[in-house]
Subunit: 176 residues, 3 copies
């Protein structure tokens, strides 16, 4: 069920004539489109990464005993809520940066794939944009690295998201 | 226009032969796919819930007269901006938790539906994941309940999002 | 490749008969659907706007020398991290408001388009909702304007997102 290796959705010979006349655009947001499948893979990796941020936050909260809600205190036998711990705040800033950049990147890439870009370019753009965000998290929240490591990782995905937005705008501006 | 009760997109007899040969995958992201329709329903409920968080925040701000912007002060005849009110911050933490978890869950579920999972499993997964988030908001922001209520609700959607991501990865990893 | 001016996906005369019998619903999430193309355009504009918020934040951080991470200090030759600058915090509040409202609006509009609304209504709804958010950012983060300017812009998109959610719920509630 999952191992259809070709992009042509033609299970029986009798359907060839019908599908040969179907424009490729019809299947852009379908798993048979390699670009969309590539998008699905990298989106899953980014979502897993974002979920890891929650675990990182929880680990830092446990380690530094910094809990933000009174009902969480029984987890640590501590006496009061605390805010502003450095390690917790660093992970939370990295997480918020993800919300501000990864979610728009994922939505924009979906629109970009739907606009029917060149397959080779599109897959490269998705791979680089997603990899840069994985790197960004590493140098921000896992091992703090001196600048400009983080700025470069940030700028890569930022630029790619802009490129995708401009591409879609150029494609579809007449429907505004 | 909205009451097409069957999933078969065959309006006229003459089109049967063409559509009988069309693979089902083509229509995964279409309302005629019951899994996608199920996704649309639960996504709408989650979006409505997230919008409610804004109203909850506004209510707490009004009640405790905690306004973050100088230009909002005329709403309360108060004299200065304030930050850090407990009730406002609790709702805002719950809202941020939504951003960190509900949005990835919604995007991931869309990718999961597009990957063509087993319909029965997929609908169950979407229903449980979305319901757990509705419960999470209730025990976090509406009626604060002792742990582990919130942790369990959080972990349910978290696990389901991971499951969806892994499923999509297994399906499409060769397109990486 | 990008300049197909008509919405009819019929590249060759021989395919007309096959496509004439294909229901329109199959192509709702396709660029040949003018509503979806309209959605793509406005979503690109909103994503570009959200990216601008990052640049606005960076500009305010540079201007006021308010850096949140020790490794950023070499950018300003400053001696310590700082938090809570008024100008930085205003832009960040506006950005967070975007996350809370623009992302749900974009996801909800996608679901709304997928539910097959009336094309004229749908395009109007998307245009107004997206324009209101562009206005919201302007009166919040660029030129602070007395209330109720911001509340009105906020309420417009808020109401439209609710409308879309209710529409999708009414369409698809039987698949819950």
């Amino acid at each position: 069920m999952e191992n259809n290796t070709l992009a042509t959705p033609t299970p029986t010979p009798t359907s060839v004539s019908a599908h040969a006349t179907m424009p490729l655009r019809l299947t852009l947001l379908d798993r048979s489109n390699p670009v969309f499948a590539c998008y699905l893979v990298w989106m899953s990796l980014l979502v897993l990464k974002m979920l890891c941020m929650s675990l990182l936050t929880a680990r830092q909260r446990m380690r530094t005993k910094t809990f933000a809600n009174p009902e969480d205190l029984r987890l640590s036998k501590d006496s009061e809520v605390r805010f502003g711990d450095d390690h917790v705040e660093r992970v939370r800033r990295a997480h918020r940066n993800d919300l501000e950049n990864v979610l728009p990147f994922m939505l924009m890439s979906l629109a970009y794939v739907a606009a029917g870009p060149h397959p080779m370019v599109a897959r490269m753009v998705i791979r680089i944009g997603a990899s840069a965000r994985l790197l960004h998290t590493f140098v921000y929240a896992v091992v703090p690295v001196p600048q400009p490591a983080r700025v470069l990782a940030f700028a890569t995905t930022f630029t790619i998201t802009c490129f995708e937005a401009v591409y879609v705008l150029v494609c579809c501006i007449k429907y505004i």
